[in-house]
């Protein structure tokens, strides 16, 4: 069953064009991050006049990038850990128990995903400000408030995917653990979680990426001290003249952990996605 020539050439053309479309912006980011300032302030060139690593050094002074980094890391790690933990518990309930309100819970959780973020943003801002005034907690403008907000962004998808994944694990396994005298939580931790690792990893990557790149809520719910990278990088643009080589260097450094993580875990991610999604 050999494809005719037009199919083969069509395939080559499509793949070449899509590769260019994908690679060119990434190349621009890479090459601009090692250009001296005068290169990025004049007409674009495909190659730098000479290669310099100074943007990677200077970018830390132009804006408080290290502060943003720390904020983003703390917020993303905390919201990922909590989101995955909450999702594991909820998915265990959904997958292993039949209880009143189970379908309603799933539907409600998933439908929150389609609502525009702007709809929650205004009231959430008001609620956080007022909780702070009433209780002395610090939700508005703090990392805590951001962590609570972000963990719910990935929670519905995480629950849904993990529940699908748990469904593929035979019940005999947890039954056996229960017979051996561990409680339901023990069965979850000792038997189900090890078997569902790809799903857990997929959900963790997804949660981390969600928190790492969120802009809308971060732009309202953070202050100068708690600014995350997603909104902090705009500080470069508010300078008198934009040091594009530093912006690109910062973008590169910010992207590396996420992209490397994504590509390393790509197999687990796709496996987790298909196992959770293609339940027939």
């Amino acid at each position: 069953m050999r494809d005719p020539a037009w199919v083969r050439w069509g395939r080559r053309t499509v793949l070449t064009l899509l590769t260019l479309f994908t690679v060119v912006p990434v190349y621009v980011m890479l090459v601009s991050s090692v250009k001296p300032l005068k290169d990025v302030q004049s007409a674009f060139t495909w190659l730098p006049t000479h290669i310099t690593l100074s943007p990677f050094v200077e970018m830390w002074q132009t804006v408080p990038l290290a502060q943003y980094f720390v904020n983003s890391a703390i917020v993303a790690v905390c919201s990922t850990v909590l989101s995955v933990a909450f999702a594991i518990l909820a998915a265990y309930a959904v997958s292993r128990y039949r209880f009143v309100g189970r379908g309603g819970f799933l539907t409600a959780a998933l439908s929150t995903q389609m609502f525009p973020g702007i709809l929650f943003l205004l009231p959430l801002f008001l609620i956080y400000v007022n909780i702070d005034r009433a209780t002395g907690l610090n939700l508005y403008g703090s990392r805590t408030g951001l962590v609570i907000t972000y963990l719910t962004f990935s929670l519905p998808f995480a629950i849904w995917l993990l529940a699908g994944y748990f469904d593929t694990i035979p019940r005999d396994l947890d039954e056996a653990a229960l017979v051996d005298g561990s409680g339901p939580l023990g069965a979850l931790i000792r038997v189900i979680l090890p078997a569902a690792m790809p799903g857990v990893i997929a959900v963790a990557v997804y949660s981390f990426m969600t928190a790492w790149g969120e802009v809308l809520f971060a732009s309202v719910l953070t202050t100068d001290q708690t600014r995350t990278l997603a909104v902090g990088l705009r500080a470069y643009a508010s300078q008198a003249n934009v040091y594009w080589n530093q912006v690109m260097a910062a973008s590169l450094v910010v992207s590396i952990p996420v992209v490397v993580g994504f590509l390393l875990l790509q197999r687990a991610l796709v496996q987790g996605l298909t196992a959770g999604a293609v339940k027939t």
Partner: protein, 337 residues
């Protein structure tokens, strides 16, 4: 965080009590067994309540109030306004309503084109990389996922740099390399900004379509193609008779997810153009954001948000009715725009 940890605490002892103490009374065990799944749900439900459910109800309530900057600190005292905010939002002859309608139409147009573009590129890529394996296929697969893996704001920043008038790569290619224009066009202001926005949105979302459709293609049994080939079907007929019908459920959900993402997109215009986008690329989320936070008129902003939600709900329900994808063919989630 201590406020969040307390609800999970009771779950542990009751879980242990459920089966360890075999000497325990039966009725007590049955009650705890029946309550156990609910205990597992508590943390997730509390978080959802705080961030999604309560704010949504509050949003509807606020939209019926005259909540301006004078009432931010004591918003429960904001005077009741009835449907006044909604009347202002949909009065298309006045400036506020007119700008909202314009923004809505722009958003609908960009979303339709972005969905079409992302779906087309995703389908072409998935088809090109399915079938017989060749050298470098795995590399291409990973490469195509890079735009989706990149944090959105860094990708959009890069595009913003590429689209700069005098220092950008795009004008360098169009003017200096290809000589298509004698004078460098502007890409981030005026009419061209619509197309800039569209291209960036497609670049962002097509890898997701590619990923989803690749998974969909892998679930099509190979013997269907063999049967079609025996019947003398060419590649095009095979695509029409086997691939498209088999991908229907996946496509149904994919198009819906892509549409909701594009329609709700805030990050792309916000990072690409700065806080205020040109009128030709004024997506509705950014429009409402500016209408609320620049003028601090939360009542009006909430009314606009509610209208936007109603529109999305109606479109989604009609779409689900037309395509009949219930809860069976499911593939979705994805990142919040």
């Amino acid at each position: 965080m201590s406020g969040l940890r307390t609800p999970t605490a009771p779950a542990a002892p009751s879980g242990a009590a459920g089966s360890r103490r075999n000497g325990g009374g039966r009725p007590r065990r049955r009650i705890s067994a029946r309550l156990f799944p609910y205990l597992l749900l508590i943390p997730a439900v509390l978080a959802e309540l705080l961030v999604h459910i309560i704010p949504m109800v509050t949003g509807v309530w606020v939209s019926l109030r005259e909540l301006t900057q004078f009432f931010i600190r004591n918003w429960s005292q904001a005077p009741f306004a009835g449907l006044a905010n909604y009347r202002v939002a949909v009065d298309f002859s006045a400036p506020v309503g007119n700008a909202l309608l314009h923004s809505f139409l722009i958003t609908a147009a960009v979303s339709a084109l972005a969905v079409a573009g992302a779906w087309l590129l995703g389908t072409l890529a998935a088809l090109s990389l399915s079938g017989p394996t060749f050298r470098g296929r795995g590399t291409l697969r990973s490469l195509f996922l890079v735009p989706y893996a990149l944090p959105m704001f860094t990708a959009v920043m890069t595009w913003s740099f590429m689209l700069q008038h005098s220092t950008g790569m795009v004008n360098h290619v169009l003017v200096d390399d290809l000589h298509l224009f004698s004078k460098a066009p502007f890409w981030l202001v005026g009419g061209n900004s619509f197309w800039s926005l569209l291209i960036v949105m497609v670049w962002r979302t097509w890898p997701f379509a590619f990923l989803t459709l690749t998974a969909g293609l892998q679930s099509i049994p190979g013997d269907l193609y063999e049967a079609a080939a025996i019947d003398g079907a060419g590649p095009f007929q095979r695509f029409r008779a086997v691939t498209l019908p088999m991908l229907r459920p996946v496509n149904g959900v994919l198009v819906l997810v892509l549409f909701l993402w594009s329609f709700n997109d805030f990050t792309t215009p916000y990072v690409l153009f700065g806080a205020t986008a040109p009128a030709q690329a004024d997506l509705i989320s950014l429009h409402i954001y500016n209408a609320s936070f620049i003028t601090w008129n939360f009542g009006l902003g909430s009314a606009m948000s509610v209208l936007m939600l109603v529109f999305l709900l109606v479109v989604t329900l009609i779409y689900l009715g037309l395509t009949r994808i219930g809860s069976s063919g499911r593939e979705g989630g994805g990142r919040r725009a």
